[in-house]
Amino acid sequence: MTYLIAAYTVMWLITFIFVLSMAIRQRRLAAELEALKARLQERQRYGQ
């Protein structure tokens, strides 16, 4: 039973870490995109 629990724990842990790493990267990218778009709009507004 110990091995079964260990196997399922590892399986869920790896899946969770994989999904979490994607979520973190997506959040960072979305924030970066917002900042870049804001900078671009600002530049266009001042005609640079």
């Binding site: 039973m1 091995y3 079964l4 260990a6 196997a7 399922y8 590892v10 399986m11 790896i14 899946t15 994989f18 999904v19 994607m22 990267r25 997506q26 990218l29 979305a30 970066e32 995109l33 870049l36 778009k37 900078r39 671009l40 530049r43």
Partner: protein, 228 residues
């Protein structure tokens, strides 16, 4: 910029994959009968086989996407190939760890250099190297071409790994035989549900991962236009 994985269909698919995984969990832990010789530890098998199948399938998708990239030069195929390797590698690691946890009570060892385990180790190294090599090539076009060629060549390890238990003498069990499945009907149903659930999870993760790469490209394009 093209994007995949957005909209209601994607959300529906993510939900469906989640529900399927929970159903598969029930099938493996409750529905499937207790195996007489191995006991409850045999229940690892349903997810071990399912993740192995998805890992192999993911690398097959990388092969197809790599060929498509070399033929068309479209970035989207490079993104699919990369995303599929990442997911396939995650599943292959799960397969290896769960296999090792099953082997300890059944074979009395965590690892042995028999044909299947050896070919799995080589396959893992090949695809881990794929990701490492992508990081060291800076030019995007060169990186994508190199990755596509590597993705095609690296796939040779997949059929060898799959066939290792049929070609050589090995202690690894052979479930899928030419004369049928070496499982009771209830166990077979649990296995099919697990494979289907993990396949859905793969598609769901592939959509998320490709979308992430499209976002990354969009950010890179904006950065470039700001630098001009």
């Amino acid at each position: 910029m093209e994007r995949w994985g957005v909209g209601k269909i994607a959300i529906f698919l993510h939900g469906l994959a989640g529900a399927a995984v929970l159903t598969a969990l029930y099938m493996a832990l409750v529905f499937a009968p207790r195996e007489a010789a191995m006991g409850d530890v045999q229940r690892i098998f349903y997810w071990h086989v399912a993740t192995a199948w998805v890992g192999f399938f993911a690398f097959f998708i990388t092969l197809i996407a790599s060929i498509a990239y070399l033929r068309t030069g479209r970035r989207r195929w490079d993104i699919v190939a990369l995303s599929s390797v990442e997911i396939g590698l995650a599943f292959a690691v799960i397969m290896t760890v769960t296999g090792s946890l099953w082997a300890k009570p059944v074979w009395n060892t965590w690892w042995t250099w028999e044909p299947r385990l050896t070919t799995v180790a080589i396959m893992l190294l090949i695809y881990a190297t794929y990701l490492l090599l992508r990081r060291v090539i800076e030019d995007p076009g060169r990186r994508a071409r190199f990755a596509a060629v590597y993705g095609i060549a690296g796939f040779v390890s997949v059929p060898i790994t799959f066939m290792a238990i049929r070609w050589w003498r090995t202690i690894h069990p052979v479930i899928f035989k030419s004369e049928g499945f070496d499982l009771s009907p209830a166990m077979l149903v649990a296995l099919i549900v697990s494979v289907a659930a993990y396949s859905l999870l793969y598609v769901s993760l592939l959509l998320l991962r490709t979308q992430l790469e499209f976002l990354s490209d969009e950010a890179a394009e904006l950065r470039e236009s700001l630098d001009e």
